[in-house]
Symmetry: C2
Subunit: 414 residues, 2 copies
């Protein structure tokens, strides 16, 4: 029998305890050991819970119990999660977590401690919820060079964008709906400003290329600036707007990495990933494109990914899983302004013909877009592909020439 | 350094050798060992090949070399592959294969020998080519009960159906095109009659439910009977025709398993899996639906999956991978005639009104379908859901009542 502790009895934590209980027999068969939850750490009381006897309020009780071999961390946030996880790994306990903030900020450090102590630090549930992605990237694609990873990594924003596209509702109204349905939190900033997606692409990039990428290094834009006009122009262009996290290795050994809304062609394998679903495209030099699709969050999908890691941990007490990446460095990420992109631009002007003369003078040839209910003086176009810095300079110049930029969205090539 | 042998230097075998060579450094990093191809078994000569020194014509040379720890079997077919693989596993060599025919026919037997000798028998490449699916099912979904697996498992037939749907070409013309493009073999029977898909769903079913399912136990229909009329009716119904392999666990402990063309609603997650791509839907009780999508065949996708297994094997010389299933039994598969389905039926008659009276007498209420260029006397409808045996009996009765059945396609609920 293996004894474990679960830190945090929120949505995911209660799901983990329930899955371990409900599937105890089949899990024991797969792990070749009974798995027993000895402690649940939570500061709250849960009177009447069938697990009432397991609750503890002191982390030290878990840390000092040498029978506890695996600790599940589902507290979320950096503090106290980081200190707790570090202490566990320094004291002979393997750790399984769903905490993307922790892995994105401290992954390299914690993996190093785990390696030194010959323990496992596993985090399949931190990206994609119940979609297997960490393990396929690290194992199945071992014989590939990963050319690129791009994904719809946040269900809340994908739900909002899907609704806006289908029902022509505004961002504010759709966010309010998502909050009523429980798909968005009361404070939705981490989702809608792209931070959640940023943490996930950082984890995938760190794993795929072996070097830590920190969220602060990633240019991140959310979806709160997307207007219905932009969605209509995307449709006119032949696509949809999705919030994409994307990373590519460049020939100079640096990476391009960004989180932002993008125009995606309707033919893109990610264009049909709708509602709260996530989709992750892994482009390998041998496999070509492989796409993983499913619910990226939710109590039981996430809990089952955590439990699968616990099982894997039990099966590998002696053989460490080779999840590892090195520390990052400040110059590892290329400035997004040096990436070559096309931009969709929506602007207003008093004189359309003159405006387009100026646009083409500053930006070279552009593809003009139209929509049905265009406001007077509203213009929209897609630029040619060039380093973003150049196009942005052109756009700044235009504002002195009677062209007011309203919004800019990158064109994704996926 | 780990020494391996590759048996078979066809498309996949040459790809395996090339991937191991091209990515030698990164593979050694991931496996923590250099991997060296010592022998390549092939009866043909490859003069001028950079690997000329490695070729051998005698299997015994590999078998008797105790330095060879892993053997890659990419010969295809049952003989001599089965005897060779069995001999390897009985003589201390782990085996990695892409041979679906071998795994579908002999998986339980070979897994048992591997287990007894504490060796690995791995076959990620046997299903889905470069799409990771065996490992995600066996590991990531360990904390799930698999409710159902359904997939588009054969790229050749999916290419043909996609072309027929998009370009309104006949089956015969499209097959000829697929042969010219190298997507279909000169003798295409294994693909178009569904046998290839059948072997793959057998492997997935065996893995998911722990008990061997043999191809002979699975009712299998191919796509050679699909006419453009059927494709037009599928469009009128709101969907497309796909060749699907599907398995479900029933409450009585038996499984429902079938390979056949199905009508899929356009909303289905598999309806947009087009051309030579494969898509596999795994429905778990905790994860919900997870879909894996990518190229299911091809030299480098398949080779990279084989090489990933070789790496995994090197990393797990001491800790066996827990891939295992038991022997099958004759009564494990429910007769497909007992499955509850709706059927699409296309028929001809001399008297439409009378025919529909008879149809509804024999089959209960049906949904009539229409297409633009309908032939005189052509009728088409979708039945209610009932045990297939009942509906088939009704269809037989109808043939005595002036309704000639032309084709029947099951309605997929995916």
């Amino acid at each position: 029998m293996v004894e474990i502790a679960v830190m945090g009895y929120g949505t995911v934590g209660s799901g983990v305890v329930e899955v371990l209980d409900k599937h105890a027999e089949s899990i024991a068969g797969r792990a070749k050991e009974q798995i027993h939850v000895k402690y649940i750490l939570d500061l709250r009381d849960f009177p009447g819970s069938p697990y009432e006897q397991k609750f503890v309020k002191s982390f030290d009780q878990i840390l000092n119990d040498s029978n506890v071999k695996i600790v599940v961390e589902v507290l979320g946030g950096l503090h106290p999660a980081f200190d707790y996880v570090k202490a566990c790994l320094e004291n002979g306990k393997s750790v399984v977590t769903s905490n993307k903030e922790l892995v994105a900020a401290k992954g390299a450090e914690l993996l190093k401690i785990a390696q030194k102590n010959n323990l496992n630090f596993l985090f399949e549930a931190s990206v994609g919820g119940g979609i297997p992605i960490i393990r396929p990237i690290s194992q199945c694609l071992a014989a590939n060079e990963v050319v690129e990873i791009a994904g719809i990594l946040n269900g809340t924003t994908n739900f909002i964008l899907t609704k806006m596209i289908r029902e022509k509702t505004t961002f504010a109204d759709t966010l309010a709906l998502a909050q009523r349905l429980g798909y968005a939190e009361r404070n939705p900033a981490a989702d809608i400003e792209g931070l959640d997606a940023c943490r996930k692409i950082c984890i995938l990039a760190s794993l795929a290329y072996g070097k830590h990428v920190y969220p602060e290094q990633v240019h991140t834009e959310g979806i709160s600036g997307i207007r219905l006009e932009d969605i209509e122009y995307a449709a006119a262009w032949g696509g949809v707007i999705k919030l994409i996290g994307q990373v590519r290795m460049m020939e100079n050994g640096k990476i391009q990495i960004i989180v932002c809304p993008m125009f995606l062609s309707r033919d893109s394998q990610l264009a049909n990933v709708d509602d709260v679903f996530n989709g992750i495209l892994v482009r390998g030099d041998s496999t070509g494109d492989v796409v993983f699709y499913g619910k990226g969050a939710g109590k039981f999908p996430t809990a089952s990914a955590v439990v699968a890691d616990v099982i894997d941990c039990v099966k590998h007490f002696k053989a460490r899983k080779y999840l590892f990446w090195d520390d990052g460095s400040p110059d590892y990420v290329e400035s997004y302004l040096d990436n070559r992109v096309s931009l969709f631009v929506r602007a207003s002007t008093d004189h359309e013909t003159l405006a387009f003369q100026n646009v083409e003078n500053k930006l070279g040839p552009v593809t003009r877009l139209f929509r049905g209910a265009r406001e007077p003086g509203e213009i929209a176009f897609v630029t040619r592909k060039a380093p973003e810095r150049e196009i942005r300079q052109g756009l700044r110049d235009l504002s002195g020439l009677g062209v007011q930029i309203q919004n800019v969205v990158r064109i994704g090539e996926l």
